[in-house]
Assembly symmetry: C2
Homo-oligomer: 333 residues x 2
């Protein structure tokens, strides 16, 4: 059951390897009708398939893209991955998805692996812990675009949400509904992950805008596993918040779990808005008001930007591209 190669086809069709190669690459302008036909038949009969690895070696292009997400547990990540895959599939590219688990070391490993595999480019949700690597890649003009998280001074094309606006949308909604004691809880901030910082900033700005004093005790940032403790604290205050912005889907789920355990009622006891659209938002009772990210556009933009780099279309200065969130009004606020 040996693998059949271009040589076998050539022999079978009584032509040379290069002729077959021409055929494969659709350069049959200067090829006789007859040979073309013969080659087609041979390929068919032998059930030949070109070896992409060999081709890649020669052409320095593997038609595969590496995608590294910081944390695949966020529904946002999987949504983006799906959209990216779709888009690349249209372009004949494959993607290799890697999950860095928020660990810079793992990310580094993956980046090096993917480089070694000669991927044509990468889309990364950066952990932020590998500046040197990012810079080296940038310097060597390796095609790369960042997603979701802004890495200061990285000079790398980045697609991100307008996070301040996301928080603002939520706060505006809360305020409009008459809430003033509004808390925000996000996952840990110690590694300066930009969306979280920005969402908190947006929260503060929005409160200020509405002339509501900022209560630092209403801002909780903690590891995913510690969210329920943070909530307990929040609700042990003399004046617990009446509204809460969950800065991502993981926080939202923790909040809902806490709410259930405490027998709180939404929105009477606590109004809730979550950033990130979640599948259960519609049928949860009450249905959940969310701030949705335009995942498809974000993915498409990232793909486009990457393809431009791959195709060497110089594009001036790399930028941060901010896409706009939208509020999906439901009943939790």
């Amino acid at each position: 059951m040996k693998k059949i190669t271009i040589g076998d086809v050539a022999k079978h069709a009584n032509v040379s390897k290069s002729t077959v190669s021409q055929y494969l690459n659709k350069r049959y302008e200067y090829m006789s009708e007859r040979t073309r036909e013969r080659i087609a038949v041979s390929i068919e009969e032998l059930d030949y398939r070109p070896n992409i690895v060999a081709r890649s070696l020669k052409q320095k292009s593997t038609f595969t893209i590496g995608v590294i997400v910081a944390n695949i547990l966020h529904s946002f990540s999987t949504q983006i991955i799906r959209a990216i895959e779709n888009k690349f599939h249209e372009n004949g590219f494959h993607i290799i998805v890697c999950n860095a688990d928020d660990e810079p070391d793992k990310e580094k490993d993956y980046i090096e692996m993917l480089m070694a595999k000669q991927v044509d480019g990468m889309i990364i949700f950066p952990t932020g812990g590998n500046m040197d690597l990012y810079n080296r890649m940038k310097k060597s003009k390796f095609p790369i675009v960042f997603m979701d998280r802004i890495i200061a001074d990285s000079e790398i094309e980045t697609v991100a949400l307008d996070n301040e606006q996301a928080a603002k949308l939520a706060i505006d909604e809360f305020v409009e509904s008459g809430y003033r004691d509004i808390a925000i809880v996000t996952t840990s901030i110690i590694r300066n992950i930009s969306p979280r910082l920005e969402r908190i900033q947006g929260y503060k700005n929005a409160l200020e805008y509405h002339q509501i004093p900022i209560n630092p005790a209403y801002i909780k940032t903690t590891d995913a596993g510690m969210i329920s403790q943070a909530l307990e604290e929040l609700f042990s205050y003399e004046k617990p918040p009446e509204a809460l912005l969950a800065a991502n889907d993981i926080v939202l789920m923790a909040v809902l779990t806490y709410v259930k355990k405490q027998g709180l009622k939404i929105p009477e006891d606590l109004a809730v808005i979550g950033i990130d659209e979640v599948p259960f938002a519609v049928f949860y009772t009450p249905s959940l008001t969310t701030i949705s990210q335009p995942t498809i556009e974000m993915a498409n933009l990232a793909v486009t930007l990457l393809m431009q780099q791959i195709d060497q279309e110089e594009k001036g200065k790399p930028q941060v591209h901010r896409l706009q969130p939208t509020l999906i009004k439901r009943e939790s606020c």
Copy 2:
């Protein structure tokens, strides 16, 4: 910024390419301490990374595995993918994930692409629409394991849930809670997708076991988009069911949406059990009783079986490996 190769390293270290190659492959038993050191330094200085594509061409092994899921929208798929990726990562393998979208043509495309890319093996959630292809792969001893869906006569190692048991667990629970009018709804069955068929069969067997007559009107199978209509029908009957088994997570979500729209109360108006564990099961009110698949074990088993094939460990007849579901008792029944 040219790519630096093994040749550059050799030159830099004043040795031959093969010596460097030895070094890279950790065969330094017969290598002088000095050369080893020199090579290490050169690699460091030049920031050299081996080109895996070239290595793959030579070694006929790419250390990458293709994973094709029939439909990535099932949470089960993503859970399995995560687990598979984890496991392969331990083995130094990468995976390329493809989504066939339940379209055999797309599946075919992907299989051929992956073969062309010389992946070392594939794990497939088969659509069932490419028997000829499956057989050809099988015949050529290409390493492959099927997941989730049984393809009759395929002679391919398969990891699947004991689906009849899954349904039985649910029915037993319903019956124990005093329900007798029990419906089941699954996504479409026209392409004979085995888990769905088996779950229905398990449902029937279990009812029979409990000496409850089977009411065909209580068995609904329909496209994902049409589930709400099916439910409407179900509830327009003179005697609507009091309990409902959602055969997968997509159905479950549709059911919950319907329930909300109609203002039904779970479990008073309708008891519900869903097959597939879902993230919102715990905090939904009432929390949802589910039948959980042992995703991690299933993934690990699939990986193990595939690795055995890759390592040429002949294993006698291929089998269908059935893993056991477990009931997670909560409040919806």
